[in-house]
Amino acid sequence: MDTEDLSHNIRQLTGINVRECYQCGKCTAGCPVGDRMDLRPSVIMRMLQSGDNASLEEVLRSNSIWLCLTCETCYSRCPMEIDIPKLMDYLREKSYSEGKVHPESRNIVAFHKSFLNSVEQNGRLHEIGLVLDYKIHTGKLFQDVTLAPEMYAKGKLHIWPEAIKDKKSLARLFKDQFKNKKS
Amino acid sequence: MSEFEPKIIAFVCNWCTYAGADLTGTSRIKYAQNVKIIRFPCTGRIDFMLLLKSFSEGADGIIVSGCHPNDCHYTSGNFHARRRWIMFRGLLDLLGIDVRRIQYSWVSAAEGSKWADVVNSTVATIRELGPYTDYAKVAGYLEKEAKL
């Protein structure tokens, strides 16, 4: 991908034209996690405009794309109505499938994976299953150890997953989704 | 077999749509070559017999375009045109001409891109409808008219 291609391809794949961004920074200014990001939203837009592979690589390996909460504040205030959250989704999927997830963000990805695993197994989220799966994958065995029992006590947790009947139809949807991907 | 290239005539007023089409040009917005413009002082000037004549001479489609309501350079020409257009639709049915073959639109001097849209969408519609072949019938009607 050379300079022209990057923004062009992004447009093809997402319908978003990063060239529309004129760097006013309103997205960053309103971003709840902007100050924690290594590359702030408007900077990412600029890097995708500048368009060389190095910058794309940097973006894909940034933790920003994973810190994005999809709160949609940027999109709702962008004077150019650029759908940045949608762009972030695209970047995340790409970063993940190319195994370029930022080390600090691995546990975020791990959580998403555990979440989808749980959904794949039962068709619905099984919160204990999710948390266990997550702990195993991140080794954060002792995080929130007190939380679970209390949740259970308050009747907020089911020991056994609640599964849907037509699991086949679901399996079809999950077929080679977010799978066989290094990360 | 190459794609059917419809012949479309645009009857436009000098003040709004002709100027709008000029703007399409100065803005370098591209559109299909099928449409050719004939300039009128005002859509109010357009005698709808002329539209039938166009069909009898082999036009596949027609665009009539002038100023937006209330924006007419001559106060009310576009209203007259619209009123006549409504009566004319009946006549079209009578002659078995698909109403979609005539695109009636308003394009102001500031709407360069809109003109391109009007042209392209009309060309697309006429492509779907295919060539207009029934012109003998219209010609016949025109002769009768002439005799009256």
Binding site: Y22, Q23, C24, G25, K26, T28, A29, G34, D35, R40, S42, T73, R77, P79, M80, E81 | K7, I9, N14, W15, C16, Y18, A19, A21, D22, T24, G25, T26, R28, I29, K30, Q33, K36, I37, I38, F40, P41, C42, G44, R45, D47, L50, K53, S54, E57, G58, A59, N70, D71, H73, Y74, T75, S76, G77, H80, A81, R84, A109, A110, A116
Partner: protein, 667 residues
């Protein structure tokens, strides 16, 4: 047998790049009745025109088709050339190969073919062209100027000083417009009122200027040289001849809590009021919506206290008809409405104000007498934030354009603030600084370097109120997009300049065109910036697009010059593109059957009755006749005429049919 000359223009490469001009010329040459055809790089250039003239003479051409740009651009040019060569100018037509062909299509066979079709069509039209002669119409040497801001004032004075009569119509009680609201003006920082008010007085005293304030255009009929304007003079409820402008009525009026328009709601006024002390005329009007007499039927305090008994509660709106030869529109602009900025809390937080409101705060004649005090509690703000492009360059808010004046007045605002509040800190959030203009860039630099205004490149995302402060969440895009949060005491939005309310309706009354943002359209973006598409109607100032004062004034003088040029002649000749009812030899005289459908269709009452009499003077036939002075040539009558007796010169039925056939039969 017609001898037509066809001249194909390359327009540099504008046409020749996508159209094979040589082939078009060749094809044209083969057309029946074409005596000569050629192509040339610049037809409109002097050598280009010379070719046409030579050929008209040499070949004795009976008609000319110039295939070049839009006739709206160069038709006059080439018709002039033809008449210089002795050919009737109306025997010259243009085929639009640029705007309608080369610029809108890619290079291809089809494009060249279309060009050929267009040329053929116009050739057929020219064959049927008949020599026409311009219509002479008298010129009424009085100008109507609509809008009494700086643009209207300048135009009026210039036209009046050229020795012509001017009627200046202003919708508000006083002239002065936005400029009279401004504090000091960039880049010289001289006080707006000080330079404006003398002009206002000059207008009031000028023998050639009739001033109509509190009045609006109701209707405009007729055409260049001979318009008929109807003006509605709104009832002021006072007798201007008796009123001395002493002002007692206003001081005594019990209704005192009406937000003052002049002070953009930051100050109050009474129901009977003069908008501001330097108003011209300095005589009050009663605002009926807020007057307790008009609303509740009792009060009349002003009447009691008026020493000259000038109050007239029974006064009614008056409609006056005026004969004018030209119109200058100078209705100005407005600022974007509060509802536009939910994220900035404009309309919700008192201390978030617009640039125009800041002007009033900074103005010596303003509600705070020039002290910068915030609206909520009158405190002097220690930290003030200015936000540029508030609405401008913001498609999401429906305004993609740049308002042009904000960069400069925002710099000025910050400067004024720093001058008035020495301990204060000012911040400007901006995207680009557009300071193109004489001494403009220097002015901005001074604000930054000397007056220590802090420019931060980035937009503000949100403003919210937190214990008496306004928290401004912005960003510095030049510092790797670092978040910037400022606890401000006051925020000033450089809110976008938008078209004045009612401009659409006005445009429709005047039959001029306007753009997507309701600004009035000039006849040509470069070469006719003060003309409109309607002859005799000119534009001045921000009603055409956002402009600063110097620009407005120069355009206003430009419009005035155009009017003066028009008035320099006693008669002007109009295109003879008008309707005519045919005449023929006796016993028929005319195919007109006298149904007068045409009269019902004509928007200009141009259709008259003509009685045809025999030698004995007996009436044998009543037919329609078109008054050439009134007819504007729309041709609506033609479409209405059942007996095909009426036709438009230059757009005859015969010609239209010929064009259609030429266009379609291209095998």
């Amino acid at each position: 047998m017609s001898k037509i000359g066809v001249f194909i223009c390359h327009c540099g490469e504008n046409i020749s790049a996508t159209v094979d001009v040589a082939r078009v010329a060749e094809a044209a040459g083969k057309l029946e009745g074409v005596a000569f055809s050629t192509d040339y790089k610049y037809m409109c250039s002097d050598p280009g025109q010379t070719i046409i003239k030579q050929m008209v003479k040499e070949k004795g051409l009976t008609g000319v088709v110039v295939a070049a740009c839009s006739p709206r651009m160069h038709e006059p040019t080439f018709r002039k050339a033809c008449s210089e060569a002795g050919l009737n100018p109306y025997m010259c037509e243009m085929a639009n190969l640029r705007e309608h062909c080369s610029w809108v299509h890619d290079k291809s066979e089809a494009t060249t073919q279309k060009a050929i079709d267009l040329v053929r069509t116009l050739v057929e039209k020219v064959k049927l062209d008949k020599p026409l002669f311009p219509i002479k119409v008298p010129v009424t040497k009085t100008a109507l100027v609509i809008g009494g801001g700086i643009a209207g004032i300048q135009s009026s004075l210039d036209i009046a000083n050229a020795g012509h009569q001017v009627i200046l119509v202003e919708k508000d009680p006083s002239i002065g417009g936005h400029m009279s609201q401004l504090s000091e003006t960039f880049p010289t920082l001289d006080c707006s009122q000080c330079i404006l008010t003398p002009r206002m007085v000059e207008v009031a005293q000028h023998p050639n200027i009739t001033l109509m304030t509190y009045a609006e255009l109701e209707k405009l009929e007729g055409s260049i040289g001979n318009f008929k304007a109807t003006i509605r003079k709104k009832a002021k409820s006072i007798d201007e001849k008796l009123c001395t402008g002493c002002g007692v009525c206003a001081t005594k009026c019990p209704t005192k809590k009406i937000p003052s328009e002049f002070n953009t709601g930051l100050g109050m006024r009474t129901a009977i009021y003069v908008p501001f002390p330097q108003a011209v005329p300095n005589k009050p009007v009663i605002d009926k919506e807020n007057c307790s007499y008009y609303q509740k039927g009792k009060c009349k305090v002003c009447e009691k206290v008026c020493p000259t008994g000038a109050i007239r509660f029974d006064q009614e709106d008056e409609l006056v008809e005026l004969e004018v030869g030209a119109v200058v529109i100078a209705t100005g602009f407005n600022v974007m409405q509060p509802s536009g900025f939910p994220e900035y809390g404009y309309g919700k937080y008192k201390d978030v104000i617009t640039g125009l409101q800041f002007e009033r705060l900074a103005s010596a004649s303003g509600p705070t007498l020039g002290e910068i005090r915030r609206p909520s509690d009158g405190k002097i703000p220690e930290k003030i934030v200015f936000i540029a492009c508030a609405g401008s360059r913001d498609p999401a808010k429906g305004i993609p354009y740049c308002s042009k004046i904000c960069c400069m007045y925002t710099a000025k605002h910050a400067m004024l603030y720093q001058h008035k509040v020495h301990s204060g800190k000012s911040y400007i959030f901006y995207m680009d600084i557009r300071a193109a203009g004489k001494n403009y860039e220097e002015f901005v630099r001074r604000a930054i370097v000397e007056d220590e205004v802090n420019y931060i490149r980035g937009r503000v995302s949100k403003i919210y109120e937190q214990n008496g402060k306004l928290i401004v969440k912005g960003v510095d895009t030049l510092l790797n997009a670092k978040n910037v949060e400022i606890e401000a005491d006051m925020v000033v939005l450089a809110s976008a300049a938008v078209a004045n309310e009612g401009s659409e309706e006005l445009a429709q009354k005047l039959h001029i065109s306007y753009d997507a943002y309701k600004f009035f359209s000039e006849a040509h973006p470069k070469l006719k910036p003060v003309e409109t598409n309607t002859a005799g109607i000119f534009l001045a100032g921000a009603c055409q697009a956002p402009k600063d004062i110097p620009e407005t004034v120069s355009q206003a003088s430009g419009a005035a010059a155009k009017v003066a040029i028009l008035f320099s002649q006693n008669e002007l000749s109009r295109d003879p593109v008008i309707a005519v009812v045919n005449r023929s030899a006796p016993p028929l005289y005319s195919t007109c059957v006298g149904c007068f459908m045409c009269a019902t269709a004509c928007p200009y009452q141009a259709i008259e009755e003509e009685l045809i009499t025999n030698r004995k003077g007996e009436v044998i036939k009543k037919v329609a006749r078109v008054n050439p002075g009134l007819c504007q040539g729309c041709g609506t009558c033609v479409a209405f005429c059942r007996s095909k007796s009426i036709d438009i010169q230059g757009y005859t039925n015969e010609q239209m049919y010929a064009e259609v056939m030429a266009l379609l039969n291209n095998e």
